[in-house]
Symmetry: C2
Subunit: 382 residues, 2 copies
Amino acid sequence: MALSGDRFRVSYTVTAKQEGEALEKAEALCLEQTVEFPRDLLPPGEIAGSIVGRVETFDHLSDSRFHVAVSYAVETTGFELTQLLNVVFGNSSIKPGIRVEFLSLPDSLLGTFKGPRFGRAGLRARVHADRRALLCTALKPMGLSSQDLADQAYRCALGGMDVIKDDHGLANQPFAPFRERVRLCAEAVERANRVAGTHCIYVPNVTGPASEVMDMARFAKRAGAGGLVISPGLAGFSLMQQLADDDSLDLPILAHPAFLGSFVTSPENGISHYALFGQINRLAGADATIYPNFGGRFSFSRDECSSIAAGAAASMGHVKPIFPAPGGGMSFARVPELLEVYGNEVIFLIGAGLHRHGPDLTKNSSYFRQMVEQIIVPTSVR
Amino acid sequence: MALSGDRFRVSYTVTAKQEGEALEKAEALCLEQTVEFPRDLLPPGEIAGSIVGRVETFDHLSDSRFHVAVSYAVETTGFELTQLLNVVFGNSSIKPGIRVEFLSLPDSLLGTFKGPRFGRAGLRARVHADRRALLCTALKPMGLSSQDLADQAYRCALGGMDVIKDDHGLANQPFAPFRERVRLCAEAVERANRVAGTHCIYVPNVTGPASEVMDMARFAKRAGAGGLVISPGLAGFSLMQQLADDDSLDLPILAHPAFLGSFVTSPENGISHYALFGQINRLAGADATIYPNFGGRFSFSRDECSSIAAGAAASMGHVKPIFPAPGGGMSFARVPELLEVYGNEVIFLIGAGLHRHGPDLTKNSSYFRQMVEQIIVPTSVR
């Protein structure tokens, strides 16, 4: 075996009563995430020297919190996403007091990821929106017929929505079967685009059985869908990557956070908002990362949301920056603080708020569309 | 739309300061997991009446803990695993103070799942072990060559291991590429079986890129593998199900807990050990559920381990009971308490302990094999 010497780095927050315990946890991380073997039993040579993780920095942050940067040989990942995630946090997810803060990947590892096919610029081009924030809504509630959902899609597209996605709970239920719904909704959005001269995309939810997702996506493409939404927490990050990487699909991908919440509910465990919703979603090919906005019915803080936006844009070699897509909490009154956090580089996701605004969805959509057109932040401010 | 009226039930623990807050959280669950829409804006009729979740029981458990059972129309799941998990815990995973305790599924929903192909009885038949506990080890450490791993497999099989699996960190790394490793290890175990007249199975790790997992599994089958190990937290539960359901593979599936730890690190959030490692793994086709044993280097308690064993066996229609496969902490001294928790219906997973026991892996394996042969619990005791 000859290792390249290239290593990637994972920054962890380790919670421990005192430094000795934190050092033990750091040492355990190095072993657990790689060899899963006691150090004294390891054969001498490259395994002990390079395959095992290496503590690169160790700092006492405050009270019981320590920052530990561990580096791993790039070869441990087999140069693919699933095993990369396994090295980052596979077994250590089961140990309390360990949280992944961020990843630093060298080009030799980044080079194996295509990343988002569209990114911000590509998605802007698709919906013909140069500078302003983008506007997205979700078709709902579950239980409506395919025809009712298509009518809803039509009315929203007509009002100026950029992106109309299936609510993430729309799957292949008898009341609106996947293929019927996708066909009708794609057709409705296309019709609205023709009428209004707009460039709205319909984005169906392809989260489903692993054996069917690619076929669902191909059907959606043929039916005229302009993107795909998938929940990587349910379907796996690698399946999202497969969708993004597929040249024949060539569709933007929206990542939905369903079933991922447990990674971010504790400050001591799991994965940071920045790494999970930002970096990992990008590596896995998402062009936009959906999450609950601060001030809505979920509990993400303003700082956490801001960190997702940062992770969606931070420098990562050739991996394109993507859109943060915060859901909920959008109103004129909140424009100033939303500007401060997101600037123009955001997709605002308006769900129930759109229906709450009044009975006419077209009017409501154009109200919100005017709002995002008015809030273009001058480049000098940002 | 005409719903069948059949509903499934999810039991949640809700953490709240007082009853009013708990009731609000229960109401939010009913909406969030289905329509994601405010109740007052729902169209009248079946959506508000039946699609929305329904609080069936509400009990104050202690201090800030409440038990809430919510029922959902079976149709909301689209009768497939991914969307079932989404209804159970998709968006609510993102809300603090909500934990899934257990699922109660009616036959109309269970009927859509094949469940484990082998289960306990089938796996016992494969390795020719009628009553005693089964014994499993993992090939490690990562970094060894395929030939070294195969030699290790040979020595362990010769000593009487029932199951020899890849360590879950063995993927498709340059030091032991998947196909080379699988070919050599399967051949080594087959050779040991011929020499010793035993029935050990080699179980390679097929956790990998979504686009390759089925091919990896087919290759493994052709090479003589006797089972597959996969980490559903990394690969997705649905992909594990696809492996289990594939008639041409016809191989037992071991589920590894990597990347799933964040679901169980908090008593207030996530999914119970019982539901996640027991019920959900079974629905997704695992024949054995691997987890860290109590008293080892991880932090699961005896009660939590015991609940996994219970979830692996509890009545679930036609869905077969599966083996709990606790890893680590096995020694003669611990036999009495291990018996108490698991009886004979267990796969003991010995990793580093096997290497720690002495330099001769064949001797060590036969030492542990004798141990599990000696600890058969009389049926009357159990």
